[in-house]
């Protein structure tokens, strides 16, 4: 079974849920609706013709300032068939919530925690949604595009009054 056949089967089964199929550099991306994500993932894992039994990666992308803002990518690999497929789900900024796939591939657990930690995307039904890389008390989600890379701007001015006003601690 090849990737076009897999796409055909998914389309036949979940016709409304498949938003788009993108081909780029020999890779196929299946863009699906959030509501049907878990069902499609379960279908892909259990499909006897081509079981995608290994979730090789899960990561998020921030398309800011475009809309919809976030996307979560699921990189699937089928060990028996040696095929790769990317499933993608877009999320709006107001409601960055996506159902968890830990029930399908347990390995998604840490990947989802990482995405939650760095993007602030919540995974509904995740058994242990805590920060994983950053400290518990960290504020913000640094991999968002509007999160600054450096917190303190470089000082180019020699207007000491202005500096004093902005950084009262600099005098000490």
């Amino acid at each position: 079974m090849s990737i076009p056949e897999v796409i055909e089967r998914v389309r036949a089964r979940f016709s409304e849920a498949v938003q788009e199929v993108v081909e780029f550099r020999g890779e196929t991306t299946l863009v699906v609706r959030r509501e049907a994500l878990v069902e499609i993932c379960r279908f892909l894992r259990d499909d006897p013709g081509c079981p995608f039994n290994l979730l090789s990666d899960l990561c998020a992308v921030d398309y800011w300032p475009e809309r919809p803002r976030f996307a979560v990518n699921y990189h699937l690999y089928s060990l028996p068939r040696n095929l790769r497929l990317r499933v993608k789900v877009f999320l709006g900024e107001e409601d960055p919530v996506v159902p968890t796939v830990t029930g399908i591939w347990p390995t998604a657990n840490w990947h989802e925690r990482e995405v939650y930690d760095l993007f602030g995307i919540r995974f509904e039904g995740h058994p242990d949604l805590r920060r994983i890389l950053l400290p518990e008390d960290w504020e913000g989600h640094p991999l968002r595009r509007d999160h600054p890379l450096v917190v303190e701007p470089v000082q180019f001015s020699f207007n000491w009054q202005e500096i004093d006003a902005r950084k009262p601690y600099a005098r000490e």
């Binding site: 090789s56 790769r84 994983i132 890389l133």
Partner: protein
């Protein structure tokens, strides 16, 4: 001051009670904190271990002590300037990381790589695999109190690092591969140095094998310890030697050959029981297979250019700048603006010494990527540690951590 100290306590039982058994809450089992400053955790890994006597009930890994924000950093750099960052993800296999990243960019740009560059890449990444496995073997044996192996392994690793220094000027942070080929052609004496290593190494691997493989102490510490079934290993996303130790035949070099790995003959060693011992045997055999690949690649190393002539992704040779206006423009554009791939996304995976190392790049058409994500095999493999360690003795934990061969730099990125 005492107040401050109580504030930094991030790990409280209240927050983690859903991860430990109810007996821990009643005080019937012991909660033991291992790390982050502990030599057998191979870096800064912290584990909360729940013990019933000496038996492990559950393990809760706590990571992130080495988080450096490399993925965020990538977003503000041009594609070429990201290569040095990839060295620092998994500092024991910088060649493999370089390779995964440049191949992902090549896929994105649609660039062809000359055959000579592909072969040199194969030779160097296989040397890197041996070097990484040597560090693993040495430290793993050291953890199980076999001191001498460590000294031998680091002696041989030094030879590989010398070869790396010869080609790239650096021993560990090599940054030798470039998009479209290599930084420079390999210097004179490279082939001789690799041949000398090839000649010496098989006997040395036999030596390690004789030291450990039938050593009764080693067998008692590793046989039947830290078992993971093939089904569990797949569903937990375990890749690399840890997966093959459970008997699952998945090696990216064979399954989806890249950089002309399909030109070479090699076997994928497989284990049967999925225990610490099988993972040890698999890695030892992998070193021999790497030598086989290097030997073939070196014999058939073609002549020719070491980098593509596509001026979009490579700067022109310096001497061309003297007479060609076009070369000057390319040079200037390359070093200031960088190159702009078409908008789109790619994922490219290679077999790093630790497993499937994947790079996901999302381009918005500008000279800087929108998102770069590294699929770190150690990160995923470590997640299976609680499965392997359950029911083992607390002393086995050290052996199990060693056997999955983690690098914390890669886990925390």
């Amino acid at each position: 001051m005492a107040m401050r100290e109580s504030e930094v306590q991030a790990f409280t039982l209240e927050q983690l009670k859903h991860l430990v058994s109810e007996r821990a809450l009643r005080g019937e089992t012991i909660l033991l904190n291992v790390g982050p400053q502990h030599p057998s955790t191979h870096g800064v890994l912290r584990l909360l271990v729940e013990l019933d006597g000496e038996t492990i009930v559950s393990v809760v890994p706590d990571i992130g002590y080495l988080h450096t924000g490399i993925e965020k950093h990538c977003e503000s750099r041009t594609y070429t300037k990201i290569i040095p960052l990839t060295d620092r993800i998994d500092y024991l296999s910088s060649m493999s990381n370089n390779l995964a990243y440049v191949m992902a960019v090549e896929k994105l740009m649609g660039v062809e790589v000359p055959l000579r560059a592909q072969y040199v890449r194969v030779i160097l990444t296989e040397l890197q695999r041996i070097a990484s496995h040597l560090v693993w073997l040495g430290t793993h044996a050291l953890d199980i109190a076999a001191m001498s192996v460590f000294l031998y392994c680091f002696r041989e690793r030094e030879m590989i690092l010398d070869i790396f220094e010869m080609v790239s000027g650096q021993r560990m942070m090599v940054s030798y591969f470039r998009v479209g080929g290599l930084w420079r052609d390999v210097p004179e004496g490279f082939e001789e140095a690799v041949r000398a290593f090839l000649k010496l190494m098989p006997a040395r691997i036999n030596e390690y094998e004789r030291l450990l493989k039938k050593n009764p102490l080693w067998l008692r510490r590793t046989k039947g310890v830290g078992v993971i079934s093939p089904e569990d290993a797949i569903s937990w996303g375990v890749t690399g030697s840890s997966l093959r130790g459970s008997g699952v035949n998945y090696d990216v070099r064979k399954a989806q050959p890249y950089s002309s790995y399909d030109h070479f003959e090699f076997d994928v060693p497989l284990g049967e029981n999925g225990d610490v011992y099988d993972r040890f045997v698999v890695r030892l055999e992998e070193m021999r297979q790497s030598l086989r690949i290097i030997d073939q690649a070196l014999r058939r190393l073609p002549k020719g250019p070491y980098i593509t002539a596509d001026r979009k992704v490579t700067p022109p040779p310096k001497e061309e700048l003297a007479w060609s206006m076009e070369a000057l423009i390319h040079h200037f554009k390359f070093w200031t603006e960088g190159f702009s791939p078409p908008p789109g996304e790619v994922y490219h995976a290679v077999e790093s010494p630790r497993g499937e190392f994947g790079v996901y790049i999302n381009s918005d058409g500008s000279p800087k990527p929108r998102r770069v994500h590294f699929r770190a095999p150690s990160f995923v493999n470590l997640q299976a540690l609680p499965i392997m360690a359950k029911g083992c003795l607390v002393a086995d934990l050290v052996a199990i951590i060693g056997s999955i061969d983690i690098v914390l730099g890669e886990i925390d990125r």
